[in-house]
Amino acid sequence: MSEQLLDIVLRSLWISGTALLLSLLWSLPLALILGLRRFRGRNTIISFFNAMLGVPTVALGLFLYLLFSRRGALGAFSLLYTPTAIMIGQAILITPILISLLTSAIEAVDPRIRDLARTLGASERQASLTILREARKGSILAGVSAFNRAIAELGIALMLGGNIEGLTRVMTTQIALGVNRGEIILSLEATLVLLAIVFTLTLIANRFRGD
């Protein structure tokens, strides 16, 4: 792998990895609430996030571009065309995936386990932790799916990052640029690395699931 490509691959992992952690900061607590509690409007919220699963990345990219633009509401922060902008955009993009999959994983845990834990003398807190432990396989799958969606998307990286060499160029924008420039080999190399990353992570997640 050339130094140029390695640089791009590492940047992609760094940006999308941060996006995943950033998104977890709000997605995990929300999913825990949705998965463990019953309240009015809960189904509406879950349906909303399910519907948002298919949001086109260019639509989200355009919306955030207008927000981050120097003329936009958040223009004063000079976020446009920085890695930070891509991180924030991807974190928002994968929020519905994380919430939907984490909620289902938590819901799928047999409620009797919680009750059992309670009868065995566990506090409410210990019982909830038990459920989280039981849901870890689904949680790993949620994390991997979200990361894969982030690292494989183009619209946000292009519109918010601008594909600036050495700053915001990631694998997907490199692939698109290579096609425009007639440098197909570089595009193919980046594509192979991207596919290898996505496949490897999915295989690892499936292994956990099979346990």
Binding site: L25, P29, L32, G75, T84, S128, R181
Partner: protein, 331 residues
């Protein structure tokens, strides 16, 4: 602030879930996120940033990488290029998202100058668009004047691929159809690709169609063996392609790096900058892909006349009221 944030999240978890999330896990995730975000911001903060929104043909040929390298060697300033069509680049300027724009559409440049979105316009380079098509040339246009060629294509019904993306190339194409008195939109033989020059050339190649292209992208694709299209009409005043640089007007967008923009414009029009433009592509293609324009415009040669006819605004590169106090660049 961060400590308070973590306390808040913990409290919310406790209130809503009935148990506490492990403090160490929360601190670890937050810490990684904060460090990562701040590193990404620090990656350019403090550095003198110059955002150049540019037409794709200058970027995709590699000219701007070549210029950026030279510019960094000389001044240690990194240029951040955003490759877009001419129309999109000027919209970036309007929103203040770029400091400098590089474009090749005099009519659009005039419009944005008069709207005071940009200023300090300088013509930096020129070359010629070419009309390419299948080698067997089914419409028989080889060597014809451009406008007659378009009329012939329209009557023969051989497919024409248009960029359709408001790029400088697309606007040039539209002006040619206008000169020919033909309304191509909606015709069965007229296809809008809605994409960059490279992919458009590939579509033309697949469909055995004609298209208008800049020389640089065409030569690059032909050399890489990605297309096999013949250059059928290669020069003439109607196919002139003139590249200009403009700074985003700081009166309209206060945050732009105007001094950086002016310095870059001064470099592009300097002897050094013009030589950099001329040298590009000589090694790879054997010819210059872009011809420097600054020296030429001081002469009375035929091409200089064509440039003045086609790309001058009110008898100059930039009317005085839009020079934004940079008279020194126009002496």
């Amino acid at each position: 602030m961060i400590v308070n944030l973590i306390k808040f999240i913990k409290l919310m978890c406790l209130r809503l879930l009935g148990f506490q999330v492990k403090k160490s896990a929360l601190v670890a995730i937050s810490l990684i996120v904060v460090v990562s975000l701040s590193v990404s911001l620090g990656a350019f903060r403090g550095q003198n940033r110059l955002i150049v929104s540019t037409t794709t043909s200058l970027y995709d040929t590699g000219l701007l990488d070549f210029i950026a390298e030279r510019y960094f060697q000389l001044y240690h300033i990194k240029l951040d290029f955003i490759a877009a069509g001419t129309g999109q680049a000027l919209e970036h300027a309007r929103r203040g998202d770029a400091d400098v724009v590089l474009t090749h559409s005099p009519s659009l440049e005039r419009q944005f100058l008069t709207e005071r979105v940009v200023g300090v316009r300088k013509i930096i380079a020129y070359n010629f668009f070419i009309i390419v098509g299948p080698g067997e040339d089914p419409a028989g246009i080889r060597g014809l004047p451009p406008v007659r060629a378009l009329t012939k294509i329209a009557t023969s019904g051989v497919t024409w691929i248009s960029r359709g993306d408001n790029s400088g190339t697309h606007l040039k194409e539209k002006s040619l159809w206008e000169k020919a008195g033909i309304q191509p939109a909606g015709q069965a033989w007229y296809i809008e690709s809605g994409t960059g020059m490279g992919p458009t050339l590939q579509i033309a190649n697949e469909k055995g169609a004609y298209t208008l292209t800049d020389t640089g992208t065409y030569l690059k694709y032909q050399k890489e063996g990605l297309i096999n299209l013949a250059p059928l009409i290669e020069s003439g005043e109607d196919l002139l392609n003139v590249y200009s640089v403009m700074a985003v007007n700081p009166e309209e967008n206060r945050q732009v790096n105007f001094s950086g923009a002016v310095a870059f414009i001064a470099f592009l029009t300097s002897e050094e900058g013009q030589k950099t433009i001329e040298d590009f592509g000589k090694e790879e293609f054997g010819v210059s892909l872009f011809n420097p324009a600054v020296q030429l415009l001081r002469t009375d040669s035929a091409v200089a006349e064509w440039i003045r006819d086609y790309a001058f605004i009110e008898n100059g590169e930039c009317p005085p009221e839009y020079r934004l106090g940079q008279e020194g660049l126009y002496q």
